[in-house]
């Protein structure tokens, strides 16, 4: 006589009966999680140090500028030049934090797990990209806004720089989109965080030095137009040129920039190219 030897016990697992948010909800959740990650929120204290240090460095000129406005009644720092002046800090932030967004998922090969949910590869890349853009926007817009609020509160003997402020905001948006697409694409090629940081910063330092050297040599050789385009190799000067052409603000370098739609077209082309490479990278990561 054989008794049943194994019994399946009801140990109280429950179904989820709540609302299902679907694809959009999952993408937004991923965006919020990634954005928090870029500033180390919800992570250890150690991973908060670097982003907040850089954010603090970004705020410094705005604070000093407010103090100068209040005490000496002088014009504030130019809103349209802020990103160019602080480009090293922005570039380091991009290099340090872009790999944080993409490297762990690649290293631990968990992309297929994301895709077992309603999230598609486009949603995943979109959420990561939107998070990096938002993080860079916070980094650039908060100091500008703080300085603008300061300028409004302090009664300066001159009209408000509203046009410059708005141009600065638009420039920040273009900067954020351009830098985020380049940074994420470069960082996504390696699953190792250190190498990701190195490749993003190598790209920036290369363009920085190359634009300086090319501008110098072309100018001394008399190729003025080529010199202007040589300068455009640095993404920050490229965005500055777009800003100049769109809003008629003076260029940071004081040099004339290539006019017309040229710089803007270059920005669009670089962004599209970077996004295509990013998409191809994740298609490959999925197949592997």
């Amino acid at each position: 006589m054989s008794q049943p030897t194994g019994v399946i016990h009801d140990i109280g697992y429950r179904h989820y009966d709540g609302p299902r948010l679907g694809r959009g909800g999952a993408a937004v959740a991923l965006w919020v999680y990634s954005l928090r990650g870029t500033f180390g929120l919800g992570r250890t204290f150690k991973s908060k140090i670097m982003p907040f240090l850089l954010f603090g460095a970004m705020m410094l000129p705005a604070v000093v500028s407010i103090a100068i406005m209040a005490l000496l009644k002088q014009a504030p720092l130019s809103y349209t030049d802020y990103a160019v002046f602080m480009q090293a800090v922005i570039a380091i932030f991009l290099a340090a934090q872009a790999p944080v967004l993409v490297a762990p998922d690649l290293r631990h090969r968990v992309i297929p797990l994301y895709l077992s949910r309603p999230v598609t590869i486009i949603d995943y890349i979109g959420a990561k990209l939107a998070a990096m853009i938002a993080a860079l926007l916070i980094l650039m817009v908060v100091p500008l806004t703080l300085q603008f609020v300061g300028e409004m509160l302090i009664d300066l003997p001159m009209p408000l720089h509203t046009h410059e402020y708005l141009a600065g905001l638009a420039g920040s948006l273009i900067n954020a989109v351009l830098l985020a697409s380049i940074g994420l694409t470069l960082a996504s090629f390696t699953p190792r965080r250190g190498l990701g940081v190195a490749s993003v910063i190598a790209f920036y330092m290369f363009t920085l030095a190359a634009s300086t050297v090319l501008f110098g040599v072309f100018t001394s050789e008399g190729h003025t137009e080529a010199a202007g385009w040589g300068f455009m190799l640095n993404p920050f000067f490229l965005v500055n040129a777009v800003q100049v052409n769109l809003f008629g603000t003076p260029s940071t370098s004081g040099e004339p920039v290539p006019g017309g739609a040229g710089p803007a077209l270059v920005v669009v082309a670089v962004v599209l190219l970077a996004l295509a490479a990013l998409y191809a990278r994740y298609r490959k990561a999925l197949a592997a």
Binding site: T44, A88, R192, G194, L195, A198, F206, V217, F218
Partner: protein, 238 residues
């Protein structure tokens, strides 16, 4: 010096796609030299500018960063350093071997291209090529040692290294003369200035300061890295 550890490290640094990270920058340096030669800018001031801004100011610290941290930091990051440290090899020997590998990579990917680029531009005129190559050699070794130490000490080695190279040497060094004394780039320029007779290069730091400082930094970094490796604990921060 342990040849097995060295060969594994070389394979990790030069294998597959990894080598492009090291190779692209020197290729760009030589490319610029060819371009300037082609458009007829091959005079002394252009050569000194290209060397100062691009070779010593950008390629050298970046390669130092990639080679110096690259020989050890990725292994610590993904925990495979355990396999190396559980072997009966003294940890200071491991650190020294990694340093030798990083320094040799600097010679191959930075010192030689620096010489080649300067030679393409102006030949051996005023000793610019040999001067900058010698400066790049010493500074490259110093960068390799310092960034190796950073890679052992911190998980954020690359970011800290970038801040040193970009903010301290680039920005602060540009405005504050005192900061230039503690800049490896400036030490490289002192050595280059000693060799070359070109009037376009003015070094800021005396050679009598630069050379001892460099020796202390290299020796101190390698020894400290070895000591740190002895007490390394592997705890993830993510």
């Amino acid at each position: 010096m342990n040849t097995v550890v060295a060969s594994i490290t070389y394979r990790a640094m030069l294998g597959r796609k990894r080598v492009w990270l090291l190779a692209l920058l020197p290729i760009a340096l030589i490319g610029f030299a060819l371009l300037f030669r082609f458009i007829g800018g091959g005079d002394e001031s252009v050569a000194v500018d290209l060397m100062k801004i691009f070779a010593i100011g950008t390629v050298l610290p970046l390669l130092g960063l990639i080679a110096g941290t690259g020989v050890i930091a990725p292994e610590i990051e993904d925990g495979t350093i355990m396999h190396l440290m559980s072997k009966p090899i003294s940890r200071p020997v491991i650190a020294f071997t990694k340093f030798v590998v990083a320094a040799s990579l600097m010679v191959a990917f930075s010192v030689i291209p620096t010489y080649v680029a300067a030679y393409i531009l102006i030949g051996t005129e005023s000793g610019i090529a040999s001067g900058f190559a010698l400066g790049a050699l010493f500074a490259g070794i110093a960068y390799a040692a310092v960034f190796l130490l950073l890679g052992v000490v911190s998980r954020h080695a690359v970011t800290i290294g970038v801040i040193y190279a970009l903010v301290w040497e680039g920005l602060i060094g540009g405005y504050v003369p005192g900061a230039r004394r503690f800049s490896i780039q400036q030490w490289a320029q002192s050595i280059a200035d000693q060799v070359t007779t070109s009037a376009f290069l003015k070094s800021e730091v005396a050679l009598s300061f630069a050379v001892p400082a460099m020796i202390i930094v290299v020796a101190g970094s390698v020894v400290w890295a070895g000591q740190r490796l002895r007490v390394l604990s592997l705890t993830g921060d993510e």
